[in-house]
């Protein structure tokens, strides 16, 4: 195999793995966060507005890790620097 093929194979496999693993664990974390927030709202309905706001901010924080993984895999597929280097040669 020449280096172009190796770079293509490794990039695509890594991009899939990045998004796959990077979506799995944030999803678990978000599920735990939402379930505990729902439990707190059920216990204290008066504080629901504060809990909801904090939940949204926390969910965005958790979700941004998944977004980082997505951005990395998008870079690997569409703007891969190694691929561009080989193509430019």
């Amino acid at each position: 195999m020449d280096s172009l093929t190796i770079i293509g194979i490794v990039s695509i496999i890594t991009a899939g793995l990045t998004t796959g693993i990077g979506c799995m664990f944030p999803a678990l974390a978000e599920g735990r966060a939402v379930s505990s927030a729902l439990g707190s709202i059920a216990q204290q309905p008066d504080a629901s507005s504060t809990i909801t706001r904090t939940l949204f901010v926390g969910l965005a924080m958790i979700e941004s890790t998944a977004i980082y993984c997505f951005v990395v895999s998008m870079i690997l597929i569409f703007a891969n620097p190694f691929w561009n280097y080989i193509i430019a040669q």
């Binding site: 507005s49 504060t50 706001r53 949204f56 901010v57 965005a60 979700e63 941004s64 977004i67 980082y68 997505f70 951005v71 998008m74 569409f78 703007a79």
Partner: protein, 233 residues
């Protein structure tokens, strides 16, 4: 496939380029300025006010209440900055219901500029509230050892703000583009509706996080006084 609207270039001369991001950003700015100018030109304080003034009052009061809930006592000083961030991101995410429109928040340069303005606004508000020395002292709290970590946290949260907004909006557009080639008639509509929801949530998150950062820089002294009062009670 295009990653960002930066790659659609209309006009180029030297280092000056006019791309799609720039055009849509200016269009949204003009839209916001002209709309609010037309509404606030004839404000009334009687019982009968125009329906546009009602809408504007709801928006402004809503933003002001949200800022107050985060912990800033006088939101009037900060609503200009935070409300502008919120409205700009909200409108630019909402306009995806127009065909062939690509949101400027889906470009890394726009979100980077917004995050840098938050990065600069935090010390600006902090210094104007408590003075230069008192603000610089917050970098040394709790001990001097924490100085590099405080600086790193400033930079990393700016980076996080940038990539979060960019990634969310860009991924929405990307999913619609992928689905257009797989299942062209039904699913892109649903994903666009989901993109509207994501856009509103992201605009809210961005402005709330900016408010939290500003509140942390501004209300250090006051909150300590409040804590003391609470302890006395």
């Amino acid at each position: 496939m295009e990653l960002s609207p930066d790659e659609t270039i209309f006009w180029e001369y030297g280092f000056i380029t006019i791309n799609l991001t720039l055009v849509t950003t200016w269009a949204i700015m003009l839209l916001l300025v002209i709309t609010s100018f037309l509404i606030t030109r004839k404000l009334k304080s009687s019982i009968q006010i125009s329906r546009w003034q009602y809408a504007l009052e709801i928006i402004v009061l809503g933003i002001s209440n949200q800022i107050k809930e985060v912990g800033i006592k006088e939101p009037k000083k900060y609503i200009g900055f935070i409300g502008t961030l919120f409205l700009f991101i909200l409108v630019s995410n909402f306009l995806i219901i127009i065909p062939w429109y690509s949101p400027p928040t889906g470009s890394l340069s726009t979100t980077g500029a917004l995050a840098v303005s938050v990065l600069l606004a935090v010390p600006f508000f902090g210094i104007s509230e408590s003075g230069l020395l008192a603000y610089l002292k917050t970098y040394l709290s709790p001990t001097v050892i924490m100085l590099p970590f405080n600086i790193i946290s400033e930079i990393s949260r700016t980076l996080a703000l940038t990539v979060r907004l960019f990634g969310n909006i860009m991924s929405g557009g990307m999913i619609v583009a992928v689905l257009l080639s797989v299942a062209p008639f039904f699913f892109p509509v649903i994903m666009t509706a989901l993109g509207l929801l994501t856009g509103v949530v992201q605009a809210y998150i961005f402005s709330v996080l900016a408010t939290v950062y500003i509140a942390a820089a501004v209300s250090d002294k006051k909150s300590k006084n409040n804590n003391k009062q609470l302890e006395e009670i």
